[in-house]
Symmetry: C3
Subunit: 214 residues, 3 copies
């Protein structure tokens, strides 16, 4: 059991780092496309990496923030954005985006599970907890796009992203309600959310279209 | 007196529901015009409905939020946005907007009164309380428009909207200063604010224009 | 020593007023360019003047906000924006912007120093404190530009602005670490940050360009 916990902690930490890197790089690339300067690239990278979790903690009144408890993540984002500006070129953007889809999907799952867990521990009703599980992984990208003066990708992409986190959140609450051990509920949520997202990308699933014109 | 209070509670509840529906539908329609997907429609509907009150409570450090205490409103917005996507078509937008002007004006009055009341109960100075009364009904629409990548209607429409809430806020503080019973101050503020808004729409009042070019 | 403190307080107060005026006028002018109505001009003026400090205090969970403790600043911004709408014309914009560069640079220095001081007094780690010193003077302008549907100037101007505050923040922490008296650390930070900004404008320094296309 202890072994599982230790391994679980390591795995979670690894996922967290990989997902934060994916979110950071998404910020760096959107900023570059919008022709921001170096300061703008750093700012958007920070927003993309920490915006969602910070908004959740602000709404739940939870302190200290993740990036205050773990300043090393702030330094990491700073270093990664610097490295990207030194070594990345336009031709690397598309392959990077493709490779980042996996850690991004895993981050979607992990941050959804963490978000719903934090919110329901704070005594939030089920729907609020699930929505916090959606806000955590999704709103970093939303803030990133707003600053770059674009309509958020998460709101116009038609490929399920937030929806996977929404479903994953209910799975987590369901498992927690059955007194499933936390590591198991967490793993199941990450697997289901990330799996749905990967399936959605692979099978090119689309959200139901609202045919407003007819 | 008890009868008045009970009736007052019912009336207030009714106004709250009607105004929240008007704000939700405004979010749904702006999102549809900006061609958001279903997730975007829900997100903008939530922002339009709860954004202003949430920002006020965040600034005043008041918890729990309205939508945490009354999760049924979250479910209601979810249901209304779903119904709108199932049954609304482009041709319904203009008539809906016209019909919604009344509950929207009443919501402007109600949320202005609630906002200034919450803020002055929290010990805020008069001007801050009045500004919170403006933020509560107005900033949901502001966030809705920012996410849809538009300049907020409330800031470029030239028809008085926030201004009515500003005037209503001072009326509320004036009446409260005269120790008017709360239900009377509330009703007067709603009537005056909503009345001003309806008059402004009906008589086509315009904010004074800043002739910056001359 | 008492004399220095009294003079220091007066100087700081003077800088605060001058910088708030510069931030307000920047909001007024950006709003006018985006053709906002009078309500929009006031809203953007408030955001430009108080947005950065408010975001900092929200993140640090510090209450009451500056503009609650000093409502006279709210009235001042209201009056200044009104005066600008009554008397300013397009042809005054460029000279105003040029004249405002000095109080704006001083405000950058002052608010950076205040921001890093507030954050490190709240027990934040060094990098977080420095970033709060950047957020304080910079995010008012960022919010101003987002509401006006523009990519924030601070993120695409290529002329160092936030960077001066970043450097000034480390200077402040360095001096504070050496137990320098507060008024001295504050003055040095303001001088260095504002000096760097003025030098950057005068010598037309540019942030290193990320040649992403090559």
């Amino acid at each position: 059991m202890d072994t599982i916990n230790t391994w679980g902690m390591w795995l979670r930490h690894l996922l967290e780092v990989a997902a934060t890197m994916a979110f950071t790089l998404s910020g760096v690339m959107v900023a570059a496309r919008s022709r921001l300067d170096a300061v703008g690239v750093y700012a958007v990278a920070f927003l993309a990496a920490f915006g969602g979790g910070t908004l959740r903690d602000l709404l739940l009144d939870q302190r200290p923030f993740f990036w205050v408890r773990h300043v090393e993540y702030l330094w990491g984002v700073l270093a990664l954005a610097t490295a990207a500006m030194l070594f990345m070129r336009q031709r690397h953007f598309e392959p990077t985006e493709r490779i980042m889809q996996l850690p991004d999907a895993l981050g979607l799952g992990l941050f959804a599970a963490v978000g719903v867990d934090v919110a329901s521990s704070a005594g939030m009703p089920a729907l609020v907890a699930v929505l916090m599980g959606v806000v955590t992984p999704v709103f970093g990208g939303v803030l990133r796009d707003i600053v770059c003066n674009e309509i958020p990708t998460a709101f116009r992409d038609h490929r399920p992203y937030a929806l996977c986190a929404f479903i994953g959140g209910w799975v987590y609450l369901g498992l927690a309600g059955l007194s499933t051990p936390e590591w198991l509920a967490l793993s199941a949520t990450v697997t289901i959310t990330a799996g749905l997202r990967i399936l959605a990308l692979w099978r090119d699933w689309q959200l139901p279209l609202w045919r407003v014109e007819h």
